[in-house]
């Protein structure tokens, strides 16, 4: 077994009373703030797409990396439960590098969605696993690096990114490493969510 190096996380939620849900996540390298507004009525200029939009909720994400976050949560949040509504998620990086923030941003968003009581298929946890010399490091820089968004109970990957070039053996190894850390983070959440 290789040595896994991870960093400590701490979080708090429900600090912003005006938002439907909010969460603050802190790690050794980042501080992330996420707020959720909604579901609330969605006014949109009528166009020929009017019906399709309204049969499920629309997700609006305001943050860096928004296209990846949107596609990850698109499969997790049960949008059919909220027709004609919009769910606004805003994620801010208070401290830390934007390029390595993606997994923590997703986790912060998950926490704030849990706080807002929005129905989701499963809990979405994201982690990155990378090689740094002999060790595999979690949520830290390294190359090659794999970022995974994972549904912990249904055992499915909803977001995947790899940068830096990789061969298939490494790919399998890093995928399993990041999934394991997602599970660890999930257990931590379950035990500390008060």
């Amino acid at each position: 077994m290789e040595e896994l190096v991870a960093e400590a996380w701490s979080f708090s939620k429900s600090f912003d009373k005006t938002a439907s849900g909010s969460a603050y996540l802190e790690s050794q390298s980042h501080k992330i703030l996420a707020t959720v507004n909604g579901p609330k009525e969605y006014y949109e200029l009528s166009s020929s797409e009017e019906y399709v939009r309204h049969s499920q909720a629309t997700l609006q994400i305001e943050s860096a990396h928004s296209q990846f976050i949107k596609s990850a949560f698109g499969s997790t949040i049960l949008v059919d439960r909220y027709p004609k509504a919009v769910i606004e998620i805003k994620i801010q990086i208070i401290e830390g590098k934007e390029s390595t923030a993606l997994p923590l941003m997703i986790n912060a968003a998950t926490l704030s969605l849990l706080d807002a009581g929005i129905e989701m298929r499963d809990t979405l946890i994201a982690c990155s696993a990378a090689r740094n010399g002999e060790k595999i490091v979690i949520n830290q820089e390294g190359s090659p690096q794999v970022i995974v968004g994972y549904l912990v109970n249904t055992d499915e990957i909803v977001m995947l990114q790899e940068t830096g070039g990789i061969d298939q053996e490494r790919l399998a190894e890093l995928l399993r490493a990041s999934i394991d850390s997602c599970k660890t983070f999930f257990n931590y959440l379950q035990n500390n969510f008060n």
Binding site: S48, E50, Y51, V52
Partner: protein, 261 residues
Amino acid sequence: MEIEIERNLVMPGDVVPCPTGSMPGYGTYQNEVGEIVSNVMGYPAMYNRLVCVNSLRGCYIGETGNVVIGRISQVGNKRWKVDIGASQEAALQLSSIDLPTGEHRIRSEEDQLHMREYFNHNDLLSAEVQSKSQEGKAINLQTRSSKFGKLKNGMLVVVSPNLVARMRQHFCQLNNEVDIIFGRNGWIWVYYNNTNELEVPLIRRQQIVRISCLLKLMNKALVMISPEKIQQVFERTSDIELEDLLAESTLERIKDIDAVE
């Protein structure tokens, strides 16, 4: 009865040769000297005393009695708006559809709320042109017969409306048991007419895909589309594998069959 005047291409501004006493129809106008002049590029034709020019290209114009295929673009106040590839969307009134139970009654408030159950946004349907209001040229559709209605178990091929020949029967079945609905607006539905099975079986699917690919090629080769022509093209290309059907070489073969100039 439509008779085509000699096959001479006319351009906008050309005088259409016709017997005296003719009246200008679509695609033409009468100038100060009394001559009938063409508006579009196409071939002239006569209906009794009406002189018209059938345009080679252009969007669907629409005539009462035409069978068309369309897609629902809006669900609205007691009527649906349908996209049929014309300059304007056509309207399908709630009172112009066949209720699923087959009843004949005045539509109630209840029916208005259930409109989405009959036809929903983006559904494909076959319908007949009921009327065309003169001002604004909006087309009204009706589906008052069991053969019209929502379409399923098939695929849509869109060709140029000018290539769809006039035919008596728009709902056909080809020799190899593929069902087709020819919309005069150039939208053609190729399908499997069996509602009992959950899925279209592979053999039928391959035939449907084959005919659809041939229709696309005929559109590109500017060959008039009718059941007989499709049969001809089908026989000429029956040796080509389905995978290789959509290729330049097949197009050449089809072009040899008398093409529309």
